[in-house]
Amino acid sequence: MDKNELRTQKLLIGIFSILLTVVLVIVAGVEAKKSTETKPVIEVTGVNKRCVSCHTEKGIAVKAIDQWKESQHAIKNIGCIDCHKAEKGDFDAFYCPDSDILVGRHPTPKDCAECHQQQVEEFAQSKHAHQFWIIKNDDRSIFEPTITTRHGCEQCHNISIVWPDKSVGECDACHPKHTFSRAVARQPETCGECHIGPDHPHIEIYLESKHGNIFRAKEKQMNLNYASKDLKKIPIEVPTCATCHMDGNETQPSTHNVSARLAWESQAAWSYRTVWLQDKLGDWTIKRARMEAICKSCHAPEFVETYFLTADLVNLQYNELRRVFVYWVKKLNKNGLIKELEANGKKYSDVVLNGWDEEPEHLMYHAWHHEGRRFRHGAIMMGADYTQWHGIWELQNDLVELIRWAAEHGDPEAKQWVNSRHPSKFMPYPIYDIPGNAWGINPLANKVPFLYVNYDDYWDRVYQNVKYAYEKGLLSEKQWQLWLKRYNNKEHYLGTKYNADSVYNYYLQLNAIDTKAMNEQVVNMQLPGKPFYQPRPGVIAGPSEKVIKQQLGRKEEKYSPESGTK
């Protein structure tokens, strides 16, 4: 055997052994990536074990058990009976049919308060807990059958339920049973279950806002399941509804009182500064300061203050619109043109709130309950479209129709209004305003509007109105100073002292080209094929006279009052 060859082999073995050693050291140093999330093991204890095993076996509400297992309750050893416990004589107590366990069917806030006392108390002091809808409900009850109320009004307003045990509210309206998830409670759609639709489109307003848009875009990266106690930083990039109205930040404690940060009663027929539990919660300026403290987590103070000041002036402006509405319906009522409903000496359908059978009442109702709220709430929550098209445009339209109706029914003042050719006739009310807006300086926008151009004392009148509102306490000292700052430097904030005409002219030229194109393409043309309807008497294009007569005859038959009542 060749010695050298053998030695080479030995050397090779040695080298590979050392190489292997190195690789093994590397292997030992590598920790595999861990993707498995270890979930806490849920222990089901005592009575709960009986509940869970029997329910699982019988297949009754099994999902509720799965949900419970996902909850913080399960992790902390809070089981079925801790919430569903009952004593004999409780309004919701019943014996579980397959055992001797006394069970409470409806855990109420009283049960939640066993542990979450602060939250339940805060909630009870919020307008969520206020049964306001029942107070004037007799007006509405004449217009809608009760069965619709069960699954209509009551389903949402159940959040303010007063239970037989005298506790108030429905915690699982937002924290769905049985996970009681914080993340779900923070999801905008949770609020949107109720705050939706023509009268208070808050979810729509939110989703229209920049807040909502960013939330939707980045929703998947956000974990809404955070605790908001102990003056901690808000951990998400943009607010959901709950962030501003309930969550805490570095300066604000979190609260379950959604009214603690609201400065207006802007859901009401008139916008007025809130006095809700002001001895406990402070006056509106304190409530507003709470809200601003949250806004200032992300925004510059001046932006926030200017934004809210503008929104506040929108609310005040709304009152002036409403004043005109109220003036007209009251006048029409006094003159006997519209009437309230009455039975057994009690009046139903308040003409300035809930009227149902006459056009002016109808317009009145829409102007505050639908359009009026959209106008105000859009302004305060960044829903431009709701302030504009679903708001003021509709409001103005209601107003015009109301006065026109009065004119048609012989009111001389209304006739005069209809016949007036003055462009200012659409604003038969005083004006609030603020120089410029919170978003920027626009040198062009303020050069055109009619009132600016035609009334030299425009800003003097506005000044008087805003000052009056301030002196009435509807605006705070700080807001007045902020307003004055803009007023005293209007040319800057309105942009009128800047000149951007050269840029504007460029777009004007483009606009001229557009207009020309429109005229050339479609405005001045007439199709050669004649229309089928000719507006001359005696000539009917289309189906024969006989056929139409037949159809009309049938229609009359169908709707004749005799056949209807028989």
Binding site: M1, K3, E5, L6, Q9, K10, L12, I13, F16, S17, L19, L20, V23, L24, I26, V27, A28, V30, A32, K33, K34, S35, T36
Partner: protein, 338 residues
């Protein structure tokens, strides 16, 4: 060296360690026989280690594999070694067969050993297939379903075999336990016995001489040839360990019998079969495969017959090259077209 020393050893040791090896065996290409054997030992070792954590039940198989891969310390290493080992084993067996085939080492009196070798090749593939299905993720589950379904197309006995293998109509808990048994008990034991037989036959016949080149010079099994093996073992362990770090074993979504994933593919060494079955009717494909298997198994005799008829033609070169070429083309095509 140390010849005196060795002579003093007892006879049995002499038979094992002093086996004369022809000089041509010093070429590394002729060490391909020992490579699958080394890999087999690795597979047994890592396989035993994997059974410490693996649970063969549909609910837990996937979870336990995931647990091994992601939670157990160095679990990825053991599983990686086993996985790479299986792939390399197929390669090594294949190369060994190619070498034997082209050197016509199967010629008389070694026909039986060739047949044993072919059998071991199939068992190796069987081990790969059953092992893959034990992972019980989506790909593994559906590869098992599709793979076993092919058995149904075997003439006459198809459904019988299929139901026997699956332990029922569909891939289920019975299939998993059967495959587990096959993978850890039946197939390895069979393979071990065949390996023993294979080696004994090699020893009985002696290492084959190269056709036409009779080299009289020999060297002893120990130490040189053993060193050969040791170097290969160390090399493989090093490379495979490194591979587990660079390309760690993955795991897909858990098996869902209700959802077939978009791309299902067998392991790469079945690509050629997969390719053939895609382009010819299933019945024909299976029949072709069976014919191929029969020819392959009894090749030494067929070769002999052919030689007698056409002594000039080197059949094994022609046929071997065609098969390898087709195998490579199909495999590469499937890999690329994926």
């Amino acid at each position: 060296m140390n010849e005196k020393n060795l002579i003093d050893f007892r006879k049995i040791k002499q038979a094992i360690l002093d086996e004369p090896i022809p000089m041509h065996m010093k070429n590394w290409f002729y060490a391909l026989g020992v490579t699958p054997f080394i890999l087999f030992i690795f597979q047994v070792l890592t396989g035993i280690l994997l059974t410490i954590y693996y649970v063969p039940s549909p609910e837990l198989a996937y979870k336990s594999v995931k647990y091994i891969t992601e939670e157990v310390r160095l679990g990825f290493w053991i599983r990686g070694l086993h996985r790479w080992g299986s792939n390399l084993m197929v390669v090594a067996v294949f190369l060994h067969m190619v070498r034997v085939f082209f050197t016509r080492a199967y010629r008389r009196p070694r026909e039986l050993n060739w047949i044993i070798g072919v059998l071991m090749f199939f068992i190796t593939l069987g081990l790969c297939f059953t092992g893959y299905s034990l992972i019980y993720d989506q790909l593994s589950y559906w590869a098992t379903t599709v793979g076993t379904n092919m058995i149904k197309e075997i003439p006459i006995f198809g459904s019988l075999f299929l139901h026997l293998l699956r332990g029922g109509e569909i891939v289920s808990v019975n299939t998993l336990t059967r495959f587990f048994n096959l993978h850890v008990i039946f197939l390895p034991t069979s393979l071990l016995m065949l390996i023993a037989l294979h080696i004994i036959l090699v020893r009985v016949h002696g290492v084959s001489q190269l056709e036409g080149i009779e080299d009289d010079e020999v060297y002893k099994f120990y130490p040189e040839h053993v060193y050969h093996g040791a170097i290969i073992a160390l090399f493989l362990l090093t490379v495979m360990s490194a591979l587990t770090v660079v390309l760690p074993p993955g795991i897909g979504e858990p098996a869902d019998p209700n959802v077939t994933p978009l791309h299902i593919k067998p392991e790469w060494y079945f690509f050629a079969i997969y390719f053939v079955l895609k382009y010819v009717p299933l019945k024909l494909g299976i029949t072709l495969m069976l014919i191929f298997l029969i020819i392959m198994t009894f090749w030494p005799f067929i070769d002999e017959l052919l030689r007698k008829k056409f002594p000039q033609v080197k059949w094994h070169y022609i046929l071997g090259s065609i098969v390898i070429l087709l195998f490579l083309i199909f495999t590469v095509y499937e890999t690329v077209s994926y």
